[in-house]
Amino acid sequence: MAVMTYREALNQALREEMRRDPRVFVIGEEVGLYDGAYKVTQGLLKEFGAKRVVDTPICESGFTGVGIGAAMLGLRPVVEMMTFNFSLMAMDQIVNTAAKLHYMSGGQFSVPLVIRGPGGPAAQLAAQHSQSMETYYYHVPGLKVVRPTTPMDAKGLLKSAIRDDNPVIFIESETLYHLKGEVPDDPDFLIPLGQAIVRREGTDVTVVAYMGMMYRALEAAEELAKEGISVELVDPRTLRPMDTETIIGSVRKTHRVVVVEAGAGFAGMGSEIAAFITEQAFDDLDAPVERVTGANAPMPYARNLEKLKTPTTEKILAAVRRVCNANGS
């Protein structure tokens, strides 16, 4: 195990997979000469050359389509979105072409493609650069959607995504790139897509969260432990396909659930998780599922308003306390 940043873990994953498989190449804006807008692709141009680290002009739809076409012929492109907000320019390519080619062709063609880059709320980047983009993609059959919370997950999940034969939406976070953690050196270290992880065991309440929200939930769990509330933290890691089994398993143990998500709540991840818990484990619930979500507003720029928009540790604490008192226990 080495200790490295989330950014370095992603870089290592790309490097290892490019060394392992000559069909893997990286394509996007500023990925080469500039070394990556967020330095995730740092040094790749030097090691692999311009053939495999392809700088593009600003045309998200164009270069995403290039990735899809190359994938149809068996290459394994990793398309970088400088930020995932820009992927909306390529949404038709992703939703209508990448996700559906395998199905529409009756299995004749596949699209082994990774589209990766940072997304989610960041620091004072305002409405167009600070939003939870996964919500637009996890609705789509044919896509897989990954949100890695730790450096270890970033590496293991990105490597699995690159080896997967389907289009994978892989959304990182500007706010986590500097985060340090232990990461296995083994070049064959993989974390399978579609596997949740229990980050902290507990008995009184299940909190489901990922990315930055997981760290806030961890803070809340420490605080709640002092009050005698034992929190179990589940990180889905892959949002589609979702490991419902692990989440349901935790619910059957704790009987109470709080889902935390950074995005606006309406028709969000929390709604879906609450729905399948209700469908599959209603009798196990001692309280309604609570959601702590971003406010139903675009992301404002001003620091105070941004804080109001975003789920905070305090809001998580309040929700857990509500859930735990719901039946008077």
Binding site: V66, P77, D92, G106, F109
Partner: protein, 335 residues
Amino acid sequence: MAKTMAPQKATGPALDPGLVRKLLTDMLLIRRFEEKAAEAYALGKIGGFLHLYIGQEAVAVGATSALRPDDYVISAYREHGHCLAKGSDPKRMMAELFGRRDGLSHGKGGSMHLFDKSVNFLGGHAIVGAHLPVAAGVAFAIKYEARDQVIVCYFGDGAVPQGEFHESLNLAALWKLPVIYLCENNRYAMGTSTDRALAQTQIWKFGQTYGIPSEKVDGMDVFAVRDVVGRAVERARRDTTPSLIEADTYRFRGHSMRDPAGAVYRTKEEVEHEKERDPIALLRQRALAGGALTEADVRAIEKDVSDRIDEAVAFADASPEPPAEGLFTDIYKEG
């Protein structure tokens, strides 16, 4: 960047009877396939949208005749002709239109989403302009792996005002990709004529903007198309040079079966006038006049084509509906 406009006359060099036979057969195959598809649509055997290629056959057949079997083709939603010309089996194509188990995609694609990997036909894409970047990606992969194939990307004049047309031409030119963008200008994007949609109606000129070889060709003359595409293929194969070709053509039917006459946005007189350029009639006349084929040859070809299309319809009719479990297969590739 010559403009190749003048159709070759029957007084030109002697025609190769084998080639003429092949071109006429393929063009007739498309025409009869489309006519039968229209009948089947009227009978309710085909649903959804059905966009017929009738009138434009010389483009698909002329272009494909300049390709090797291992070259790639990608198209939009008016793609039956391109798929047939590439060598796909009319039986499996018709079964796909019928939504049956033995269709190319087991009934999950339909008229707008034909795919046939066995002949390197890459679809059947129904969002206007969206397959142009995909074609650039296929060309990128060909170049990445230092292969000598090319891809022909068919699209209509309706795709030209889309951003993806310009993004694709820019990338293909910038990276020198072996792709031939072949615009079938049939003058109407659904009901919008090119002069109502394009500030520059000479579509081939956009190629000049991006610095790639570009030509306009009479899309009703199968030999002219073959000639222009042949040169583009040669350039692409030799040194991965992309091209833009504008084929001047016309669709004799409406935009889709829901626009049967296409009569709101164009006059009957215009349609009748354009039918005088019927590419199949032109080829037939030329073949007979030049002695490449006899009347008996033509009748035999027509009979053979007609039989094959009848067989295709019978095959589609006999094929069962897809099994229910097909709903959930091929969403993800396993393993």
